[in-house]
């Protein structure tokens, strides 16, 4: 039960947390863009459906969504969507991706709608198609504008991964509770803080660097 043993055990748990973090970003960042297109759609029924969906996801606790994704298919329809050894992790990933994609979609929407109308008109005069306009003129400006709010969500996500323990995913807090807290050993709980602080510190530096790289054209 030395310091090294605890470090190694907690690293195993933190590996799961990090994997959940990275995969959630990989899937939810693009999915968020798709959802933002849906909510901005000129086809009203689609935009209503998407906005209602975003309202439900943002309006209910992520913890509840984890329960729904993992337990409800089996309880109501007797379907094992998430069986096998990695089932719990996959279920957590699905819940996280949907939840974060909805938050990202609103950030994207804010960024896209904030671009002046004049730019679209100018692009049209130059004979560009709508798709061309979006990808060559609008998108990179949006990325610049939304970097700060996105980095906020990303940092929140690092810590939200600990919620996965409610469906018994072996992330760092679950490992700690099973191996140490349950035996009355408290100090690893505070040691966990170091893991998160270091990780978020690295992310903060990374986003600072990104902002610097993107600060061209600033007068």
């Amino acid at each position: 039960m030395g310091f090294l043993d605890v470090t190694q055990k907690l690293f195993e748990g933190f590996g799961v947390s990090c994997l959940l973090f990275i995969l959630t970003l990989v899937f939810s960042l693009p999915l968020g863009l798709v959802i933002s297109f849906g909510s901005m759609s000129k086809f009203k029924p689609l935009s209503w459906i998407v906005r209602t969906f975003v309202w439900i996801i943002r309006g209910t606790p992520l913890m509840l969504q984890l329960f729904v994704v993992f337990y409800v298919p089996g309880l109501l329809f007797n379907i094992q969507l998430f069986s096998g050894d990695n089932g719990r992790f996959t279920a957590a990933l699905v819940a996280f991706v949907i939840n974060y994609a909805c938050y990202f979609s609103e950030i994207y929407r804010g960024g896209i709608e904030g671009i002046p109308k004049g730019q679209y008109e100018a692009a049209e005069v130059l004979g560009m198609t709508a798709v061309e306009t979006f990808f060559t003129v609008i998108l990179m400006q949006v990325v610049k504008r939304i970097l700060a709010p996105i980095s906020n969500e990303v940092i929140t996500l690092v810590k939200d991964t600990s919620l996965a323990r409610v469906i018994a995913v072996a992330e760092i807090f679950f490992v700690n509770e099973m191996d140490y807290l349950a035996y009355g050993i408290v100090w690893p709980l505070f040691y966990i803080a170091v893991f998160f602080l270091v990780f978020v510190g690295a992310l903060t530096l990374f986003f600072g660097w990104c902002e610097k790289k993107l600060s061209y054209y600033r007068v």
């Binding site: 089996g74 089932g87 018994a168 349950a182 009355g184």
Partner: protein
């Protein structure tokens, strides 16, 4: 708009069909388990039932027992650590197949019989709930009445919770946790006056290591109970497990296991034999 209506109708139709097929395709529990080649036991980690040895391998009486039963049935036993209060949701959603972790045949804390939620197999081990206090308070808390109005801790959804409510006199006096060991930790930390947990766990853990300041308080002797395995209601897995338990009881495997974990006095003999 017309196209939208059509697409919506199509999507709904596909969804409905999927649910109907899912309902038709419902196989019996045994068939499902046999096909996947293993059953999953929902556990919490505690000695002597399911715990990790010094090399980090899961071991314990229930661990070896479940493995032996699985072997008899030509299957493999897998173990999933769960949050104990979620056990029925885990079971009914199919995330686990059996509750096999010193599961007491008895009542929930609200007095409802557990048979309303699960089908039990044969009972295999004697157990009782015991009251744990700090060792230096055993002399002070020496009658059942002394516990009235005292603050208690127990595992949420455990039979100990029911005993704790009865002794302390009110539900508000009892705080519950996701595992028995978490409840003991509260007691060590001094946040409660007494805890009610399984005798088998208390025997293995109380008075040693981090729990050295605790002691089993014999002033109160709640009624004895038995451990059994919980399966889904109406599952045909129950009969299969019972067959295997009976065979393991007859050939002495269970007696050997009980001796290994110092449970010989508590093991129920001749399980499943005609009276």
């Amino acid at each position: 708009m017309k196209r939208f209506t059509r697409i919506t109708a199509l999507v709904l139709a596909v969804l409905m069909a999927a649910f109907v097929f899912a309902a038709c395709g419902k196989k019996s529990d045994w068939a499902t388990v046999e096909e996947k080649g293993y059953f999953v036991c929902g556990i919490t980690v505690y000695a002597p039932m399911n715990y990790f040895d010094d090399d980090g391998n899961l071991t314990g009486f229930d661990t070896e027992f479940a493995t032996a039963v699985a072997e008899k049935l030509g299957l493999e036993a897998k173990f999933q650590v769960i949050s104990w209060p979620n056990k029925y949701m885990e079971l009914n959603s199919g995330a686990i197949d059996l509750i096999w972790n010193g599961f007491t045949y008895g009542n929930e804390s609200d007095g409802k019989s557990r048979t309303e939620y699960v089908d039990f197999t044969y009972a295999y081990l004697e157990n009782r709930q015991v009251v744990i206090t700090k060792a230096d308070r055993v002399a002070e808390l020496n009658t059942a009445e002394a516990f009235a109005g005292k603050k208690a801790v127990a595992e949420g959804g455990s039979s100990g919770e029911g005993v704790a409510v009865e002794l302390s006199g009110a539900e508000e006096n009892v705080t519950t946790f996701t595992s028995q060991s978490a409840a003991l930790m509260e007691l060590v930390a001094g946040n409660a006056d007494f805890a009610v947990i399984d005798y088998q766990m208390a025997k293995a853990m109380v008075g040693t290591g981090d729990y050295a300041v605790l002691a089993i308080n014999e002033a109160v002797q709640p009624e004895s109970e038995v451990y059994a395995i919980g399966a889904r209601k109406g599952s045909d897995l129950t009969a299969k497990i019972n067959e295997a338990i009976k065979a393991l009881s007859e050939d002495g495997t269970l007696a050997e296991l009980a001796e290994k974990y110092d449970l010989t006095n508590d093991l129920i003999p001749n399980i499943g034999a005609e009276a």
